[in-house]
Symmetry: C2
Subunit: 149 residues, 2 copies
């Protein structure tokens, strides 16, 4: 079996940590110059912030670290297909490449629902690579929701 | 002439302040129990944060103030039609009513582009009222971009 790329392994680790904190397990990391410069788990409950999805937190961390609002030389790795809010933020930040794990037929906005990057009004489309770590990411979500039932 | 409702006047004031700081002039306020509890201008440049649209900042402020991630008893007033990121955040926050000023044919995602609240996968649709303060909001934007040309 081919091992998962390091950024997706890191994203899965923060996703698992989020589950431990009672958050829906989604994790995201930003890679710049071949290094992970930001990593965050989903945290809307603990931060009491409806915008605190893993991708949003990772993007904000990376932008703060680099001291600029554009991340055109950065890649985002996230365990779940981004929602409309996060896909919009990815476009605003001009993220170069998006790697996501599990598809999200209900809430995803990249390859489901509004398919934001395919909209004529979308001003930036990252390269998108889906399915990396899908099995592991989906298992985390499944176990989380099964335990809460 | 009918005077604008107080929340939209407040949103226009913060939008004008944003322009003074070199930001695209958009302002947003959150109303809870008939009172403005959060107000923010667009600030991605000054905060070096691609997610720092007026709506996002106002939603995060209100959620922090109320100590919860849902704003189902709150209304959002914003001078410009929200983009996909902000419309997504409005849905996540379960904002009750959205009042916006000027339409945004290029970047708007409520009545243009992906029309997010009309998507079958959208899990919350606020009541939407458009055009309140449109003339004033559009003038702020027009003057801002004219001055930068």
């Amino acid at each position: 079996m081919i091992p998962l790329p390091e950024p997706m392994r890191r994203a899965l680790t923060v996703a698992a940590e989020a589950a431990g904190a009672g958050e829906v397990p989604v994790g995201a990391v930003i890679v710049h110059d071949g290094r992970v410069i930001a990593a965050a788990g989903n945290a809307p409950r603990s931060l009491r912030d409806p915008t605190a999805h893993a991708e949003m937190l990772a993007i904000r961390m990376a932008a703060a670290l680099l001291g600029r609002e554009r991340l055109e030389d950065c890649d985002l790795w996230v365990t779940l297909e981004p929602c409309a809010m996060c896909a919009g933020a990815i476009a605003h930040a001009r993220v170069a490449r998006l790697y996501y794990g599990a598809p999200d037929a209900k809430g995803g906005a990249v390859d489901h629902g509004p398919r934001l990057f395919g909209q004529p009004t979308c001003h930036h489309r990252p390269e998108v690579y889906a399915g990396i770590g899908e099995r592991e990411a989906a298992a985390l979500l499944r176990d989380f929701f099964a335990a809460r039932r």
